[in-house]
Every structure is written in structure tokens, then in C-alpha cells.
Amino acid sequence: MNKLPLRIIAFASPKGGVGKSTMCACLASVLASRGHQVTVLDIDQNRTLHQWALRFPQIQDYMNIAPVDGDQLIEKVRGLYQTTSGYLLIDVAGAFQTATIAAATIADLTITPAKPSAPDIIEAVKLNREIRQLAQKIGKTIDHRILINGVSPIWPTYQRAAMGEIERAGLTRLATCIHDRAAYAEMFLTGQPPHYADETRNPIAKARNQLDELADEVLQIFAARDVQEAA
């Protein structure tokens, strides 16, 4: 069988408002813009991304966004795993519940977005502890990384302190940090994530650059694993 395995990326945090849905939609759209087959499973009970796709049907031209109940996630992914390749992104609800565990268990990479603020980081640390215990239980390494978003480009003291906290807590974070940009909020009003928006606008171009960095980093993580597996 020549089909490349489905790569699964879960966006999970016990806390709401950290940018899970936004970052999930953004990364999905970058991957889609590069020609990858992309499926997004929306298991957040608010159905943020599914409602977005219903409101702007053109989104479904380049990626498939489907709602799934959290308790059906594993069965749904089992089915997709046999039939689909490319990337599967899971947008998990902002709560610690069985669906969060299920997503982290089956994902190749679990990303927890967090703003550089104490409440977000505390919740990310809590989730990381649970994930470590879960990994121990199932005898599988779970790759859990923090994605810092809502970053201020002038790196104020509180932001540097937050980064220090992440390091002290032993969390692994993605090197890419996402700045606070209007382009991310706009996409829910226009149906155009940065990679499908007007790139001649400077804020869009800047957002695209950062999202490209993020996608490159994620793809490098998978590429490194492929090399290791082949060796």
C-alpha cells in the first residue's frame, strides 16, 4: 500500500479562549494551500469551525471540516485512517474531558496554544501532567507542545517571564510564536484565513509568514520522525 499515513494533529487545552480553533484553522489552511489533503474534525461542542465552514462554504473547497461528537472521535478517526491520507487536525473543546484524552492518545502531535499569561500556562502545565500520565499508561510517547500565541512583538517583561515559566515547568514549546494580529480575528468575519486572503495587505502578509514558519516547523517534526523510522 503506497498511501502515506494520515498525520494527526490535535489542538487541545483545558482552557477556552487560547486560540485552539483559530490556530487549528490557520494551520489547516496553510497545509491545504500547499496542496495537502486536509480534514478538520471539530469536536468542540461550540462547533466553532463547523459553523464557520457552514457560513463560508468556499472553505470546503480546500479543506473538509466535519463535526464529530467527542465520544465518537476514535471510531471516526479509525475510519478515516483507512481511507484518507494527508493531515487530520482535531479541534478539541476548551475543557479537560474524555475527548481531550482521546485526541491526545491518537494524535501524532498535540498542540496546546497558550497566550503568554499565567492562567493559560497553568492550564497547559496541568494538561501536560495528565498527558504524561496517560502516555505512561498506554506505553506510547505523546508529543505535546505548547504554541505561544497572542505574542507582543516588543517582548514586554510579563511575556519574558511567561516564557521562563514554560521552560521551568519542563514544557516543550514550538519555536514559532504567533503574534497578536487582526488577520486571525478577521478570518471568522470574512471566511478567509490568511493563506486565502488578500496577501497584498501587509497584516495578511505578516500573518502568512508566521503561519508558514509554524507549518514548516510542524512538517519538520514529522519529517524527522520519518527519517528516524526509516533508519
Binding site: I8, Q45, L54, G70, T100, I101
Partner: protein, 122 residues
């Protein structure tokens, strides 16, 4: 770079592990509140909702506004500004005045209550 080899998924094991872990750690099951039960799921959006058109900016068009200048004693102006400045998060003086009018029973539309004039409240 941290390297973790890709491991094939054993879905049956995953399911069992999730169930066991959820019991052990008393993790709540996924809850779907009735209020969000699939509004429009699998169906086109309701016909009463007009198809949205892409917008260029996120700032909503402002309603017509006019300047309305009144002379007030210094201490009143200072009190308004003080209240706006000390509010957490801060408010504009305009917002404080509108709040006061609202408490007197003036009908002020919610989208005219802009707490911070530098940002869209949308």
C-alpha cells in the same frame, strides 16, 4: 530537535486506555449542551440568515455622530475622567457619560456603548 518516531495507532488499545484513564482520573465525559446541539449541522444555514459577504475590515461602519458640547464645572469633568481612568479595564469619558444616561433611562443601543474608542467592540 526532540524526535519521537511515528507509531502506528492501535485504535482498540487507545479506546480502552482512554476509558480506563477517564475512570481512574475521574475525567468528565464530553458534554454537548442542548443549546448548541447541532444548530444547522448537516444542513444549509437557515434561510432567514442572509448570505454574508466578505468584509474588508473588522471595524463596523459607525452611525452618524455629532459633537455636543456642554459647559460643566471643572470638578464634574475631573470626576468623569477620574472614573473612566480608574475603571478596570479603563473606559472612555464618553462611555461614563453614556452609562450615566443609560441609568437615567435613556435608550442607548448596545453597539453605541464603546468602552474603549481605540478598538472595535465587535
Amino acid at each position: 530537535m526532540k524526535r519521537i518516531p511515528i507509531q502506528p495507532i492501535d485504535f482498540d488499545l487507545a479506546k480502552r486506555a482512554v476509558d480506563e484513564f477517564a475512570v481512574e482520573r475521574q475525567v468528565p465525559a464530553s458534554v454537548v449542551p442542548q443549546s448548541t446541539v447541532r444548530a444547522g449541522e448537516g444542513q444549509p444555514p437557515p434561510p432567514s440568515v442572509p448570505a454574508p459577504t466578505p468584509v474588508k475590515t473588522v471595524v463596523a461602519a459607525r452611525k452618524p455622530q455629532r459633537k455636543f458640547t456642554v459647559d460643566l464645572p471643572d470638578y464634574i469633568i475631573e470626576a468623569i475622567q477620574d472614573r473612566a481612568f480608574k475603571a478596570k479595564p479603563k473606559k472612555t469619558a464618553r462611555y461614563v457619560v453614556l452609562e450615566a444616561l443609560q441609568s437615567l433611562g435613556f435608550d442607548i443601543q448596545p453597539d453605541d456603548m464603546i468602552r474603549d474608542g481605540r478598538r472595535s467592540e465587535a
